[in-house]
């Protein structure tokens, strides 16, 4: 297990949880200030950069053309990502949203961006994906111990990520070592 849980990260995660809870349970009719909207947009851009960065360092057993990215479940920062049609390398990118228990998920996606799912949905999803070369990225709230290859940690300053090496090894998708190094270093960062 690579995922390192420190007190600092735990606090970070708790804060994120709190924020998410606030956002969820706060009445949507209440208009957010403009600054908050801009912040959300910035986060979305950062998430896009990190996700496309991870794709650029990933190698599938057979090069998918186009790369099919599926967004599963309710996502928070994927608004920018879903507009994308091109990878960093200039190759085509196909993005679509799927429902949590969509049966074609395993066959139709090369990568999945996982939003907020409940425990059962997650288990079913990873069960369907197991043994397939699918690059999975969790958006939030994932301790990154089981399931996702990458788990994002979104904050105002930076979007960071962790890597679950066991999942990477099982998935069959090869990840460039420099990304692994980057993630490990990030893990000790607050």
């Amino acid at each position: 297990m690579v995922a390192v849980s420190t007190w600092a990260r735990a606090t970070g995660a708790a804060l994120a949880l709190l924020l998410a809870a606030l956002l969820l349970y706060a009445s949507p009719s209440r208009a957010e200030p403009a600054a908050s909207a801009a912040l959300a947009q910035q986060r979305g851009k950062a998430v896009t950069q990190v996700v496309l960065g991870i794709f650029s360092y990933a190698r599938w057993p057979s090069e998918p053309a186009p790369l099919r990215l599926c967004l599963i479940g309710p996502t928070e920062y994927a608004d920018d990502l879903i507009k994308g049609t091109e990878q960093n390398s200039g190759k085509p990118l196909q993005t679509r949203r799927l429902l949590a228990d969509d049966p074609q998920t395993a066959g139709a996606c090369d990568a999945v961006y996982i939003g907020k799912l409940d425990r059962g949905q997650r288990e079913r999803l990873f069960h369907a994906l197991s043994g397939r070369p699918v690059l999975s990225i969790s958006e939030a709230d994932d301790p990154c111990t089981v399931g996702s290859l990458f788990c994002l940690r979104v904050s105002d300053e930076q979007v960071t990520f962790e890597v679950n090496l066991d999942s990477v090894a099982r998935s069959g998708v090869r990840i460039h070592p420099s990304v692994l190094q980057l993630s490990r270093r990030r893990a000790v960062q607050p």
Binding site: V50, S56, S89, G90, T160, V179, R185
Partner: protein, 423 residues
Amino acid sequence: MIRSARRDRRPTLRAVLGRGHLGVALLAVGLAGLCVTLLGVLALRVYANQNLHLIARSINYTVEAAVVFDDSAAANESLALIAANEGVADAKVFNNEGELLAHWQRPEDGVLAPLERSLASSFLVEPVHMPILHQQQQVGHIEVTGQGRSVLRFLLSGLTGILLCMLLSAWVASHWSRRLFGDIIRPLRNLASVAHAARRERSFDRRVPETHIAELNELGNDFNALLDELENWQNHLRSENATLAHLASHDSLTGLPNRAFFEGRLSRTLRTAERHQEYLALLFIDCDHFKQINDSQGHAVGDEVLVTVAARVRAQLREHDLVARLGGDEFAVLLTPLQSCEDAQRIAEKIVASMKLPIALNDGTSISASLSVGIACYPDDGHDPASLLNAADAAMYQAKRARRGQWHVAHTESSAADFEKRS
């Protein structure tokens, strides 16, 4: 003033050669050193720039992922990891938007820091800009400024090495040139000393030794040949001189010394006798009737008679006695050393007696001749050559007057009695 002083003291060959060699050696070594230094500096510049590019490239690879994920902390860490261990003074990483993602700067330390900086800025093509590529797309760029320390160290050590090499070359060159001087100057010195000896001491027997330099050897051989000729010429002159001197002091017919020689010897012997209180005697000899022989039998016979007389008189004398032909048929004998005047009389008697045997002539006939002898003794009959000669001459005429073929002692006070008795 310096010029005139220099003209007075001419430089030696060694000095001239040495100065020339030194100049050539310094020029050659200096030029070589300059060329090597220039080439070395150029090569160093090329390599230093290549090295800086290499460093930039490795920074590039290391920070690539961090730039892709726009991770400033990771980029700073990677940058520091490489830059701190390499000759980098300043390194910056920019993302595609031109924002500074990571920056590393070497802390200024050491007294040489300003020198290093100025050297780096003048020596290296910098800063080095290099795009960061990820999947053929530019994701950012880096800017690297080199540090002059390694260049400076290399430059200094290289210059030291070149300097040492130059010193070594100069030393070896001077050593060789000194050997060369020896080879050139030794034969010349030999030549000069032989020439000097020949001029000053007239010693023509010395010869210039052989040397292994062809030109100098040839010069030495020619000089030796010249010395051979000079020596021959000198010997020839000496023998010629000796012959001439003999001719000048001797009579050519009889081979006896002439009057001048005899008088010279007489005065010298008188001085010696005076100093040592010795006796000596002077005999004046004249051939009786020589004029008649000459007139009747011819000059050839007269000459034969004179030669025979000379030989017979010579035969009666001791080793140190001297007989000379004064001229015509007159002979003189100097007897020295002598115990007493009586010894002179005894010798005179022998001389007169030696003529009793007729003289055999070349034509088979023979002729009789007699001698009249006058004796003068030193110190009894005179103290100087003139008085002695006069006394002997007078005594000889007395003898001739009395009876030819006789001897007579000079008429002096001391010998008067003796004279009476004899006559």
